[in-house]
Symmetry: C2
């Protein structure tokens, strides 16, 4: 387990330790290319396909690093989180691999499909009312009763060190990158990318891509301090959460720029990726391609790593089918 608590103390050794720790439980995901999308953008794009990752998303890297970094004594009390998305799936998966309980606090109004997915990975759901107050109360009670270790979806150095392993693989799989771009919500993946690239490939530019309708990271980046949105609405539902101090550290120190795209641009990029690359990706991971198409001059002629963060999509309600 990492003894440190703040992002500024993280070093590349934490990423390397995470990599060794989680290797048995995750996939080394492939990097795909598309000559069609290269022609369209004028860039050379290298898609790091975390949609093929265990539990369907990169979040299993950070979750596994947190779970397998626990001492045996801490581990037996289990882990806990409040999330209805990929972090809940990933933490449940990792806890299952270690054979320990994973408690997930979810609003009772969350879609049944999401609850079923968490249960499918062995997570134990405790329902709360759909309000922050209720969530915090219920979560505190679950923690008090179980002694489970809280693993935050992104504002946790163990999680950030785990996410950092993704771009370490990408660097090995793709030579001569000029830039890497990843979607930004809470900033866990972007922070991990910063940790790895700033140490191993400091010349590589780091872009974050965000929905215009949930552009708190963009506005924070321009303002120089964290600004949180109040209940943003976007098709990229993995990207609604705000930055926190540990991810803000990396965003403010290492990110080259944050680019934004409209809802329609995100949906178009998502559909184009499905159509041309034949891969199922979440709306969130289409934001980077949407911003590359929109900011052609920034990327033309460049070798660009594009992190496809996940593939957990509700196939019954696709955003381009009304």
């Amino acid at each position: 387990m990492l003894d440190i608590k703040t992002a500024s103390q993280l070093t590349i050794d934490d990423m390397l330790a995470a990599r060794e720790r989680i290797a048995p439980y995750i996939h080394r995901t492939p990097v795909l290319t598309s000559s069609y999308l290269n022609d369209l953008t004028g860039a050379e794009l290298f898609f790091k396909c975390e949609n093929f990752q265990k539990a369907g998303a990169f979040k299993v890297r950070g979750a596994s690093n947190a779970v397998f970094g626990l001492s045996d004594e801490m581990a037996k009390r289990g882990v806990a989180t409040h999330s209805s998305g990929n972090h809940a799936l990933s933490l449940s998966y990792a806890a299952g691999r270690r054979g320990i309980p994973c408690h997930v606090v979810m609003p009772r109004t969350a879609p049944e499909a999401k609850k079923a997915a968490v249960r499918g990975y062995g997570g134990i759901i405790t329902e709360c009312e759909p309000s922050t107050t209720s969530r915090e109360e219920v979560f505190a009670r679950v923690q008090a009763e179980t002694g489970a270790e809280f693993v935050h979806p992104y504002n946790d150095v163990r999680v950030i060190a785990g996410q950092a392993t993704c771009s370490a693989e990408l660097l090995e799989q793709t030579e001569g990158l000029d830039a890497v771009i990843a979607p930004i919500g809470g900033g866990g993946m972007v922070s991990g990318t910063c940790l790895t690239l700033s140490n191993l490939a400091p010349g590589v530019k780091i872009y974050a891509a965000e929905p215009e309708q949930a552009d708190d990271a963009y506005r924070s980046f321009k303002a120089g301090h964290i600004i949180a949105d109040d209940a943003p609405v976007t098709v990229a539902d993995g990207l609604k959460v705000p930055l926190k101090e540990n991810t803000w550290h990396f965003v403010s120190h290492n990110v080259t720029d944050i680019l934004t795209a409209s809802e329609q641009e995100i949906i178009d990029a998502m559909k184009l990726t499905w159509q041309r690359m034949k891969i199922v990706i979440e709306a969130s991971c289409a934001v980077p391609l949407a911003t590359i198409l929109k900011n052609r001059e920034t990327f033309v002629g460049k070798r660009v790593g594009v992190i496809i963060t996940g593939g957990n999509v509700d196939l019954d309600t696709l955003p381009w089918i009304k």
Copy 2:
């Protein structure tokens, strides 16, 4: 160009020559696995992902072998076919790479999206009325006017030798296969699979998978002679065409069995593949998984190659969304 005309004259050298000939124009597609689907079926499944192939389907193998096997003199008059599916795209793609014209006769009633896709790969469309008589008349006129070489979608030894390269790759990518299963429509992919496996891995069983509602190959196989359906209706729209003499040769000599699945089983297997493997596959390529799920005892404990034939799907009309 192959001088031979009938399937019984094809040898493994024809596959090897095809492989060398088409290598610069096609992808060596990856083989993916899914621990979820392995658990579900009790088998070890190795998905050969031709949905990631150039032009989005395995058919580019056969089309490229036909196009690049032409003498310069023949090539300059171009190639021609009648198809509104993946063969038309693939032949257009291959002709474009050789810099020769590709004439495609399509019903004027074909969806605009399919016409646009053929034109996107450089194909020259001549429209006919939606009847066999009109198609044959218009096709004869196009051939007479251009001198273009007819490349049949599957009843052509050059095409079969090209499709045969797919399972040659699969054999190299996956050790110790017990069986290979592929969807069957006209039988081009299955014939190519038979050509390669019967020569290079004669112990590997060869299964063909077919929609119940277009089960002409199944009924032919049981009857011992070709039976053609009259206008079958199935969601697996690549599998509506009947066997012809060259593909019947392989089906009748080398196929272990033909298994069928209902429309709902095909749709469920398609959605399951998208959901769990995060890949976009056509309904046609879900038929093998549907039959594996249905015939558990045949495949349990076996290492099974599953050929995912293509990924060209109309994303606006998915069969599980009404």
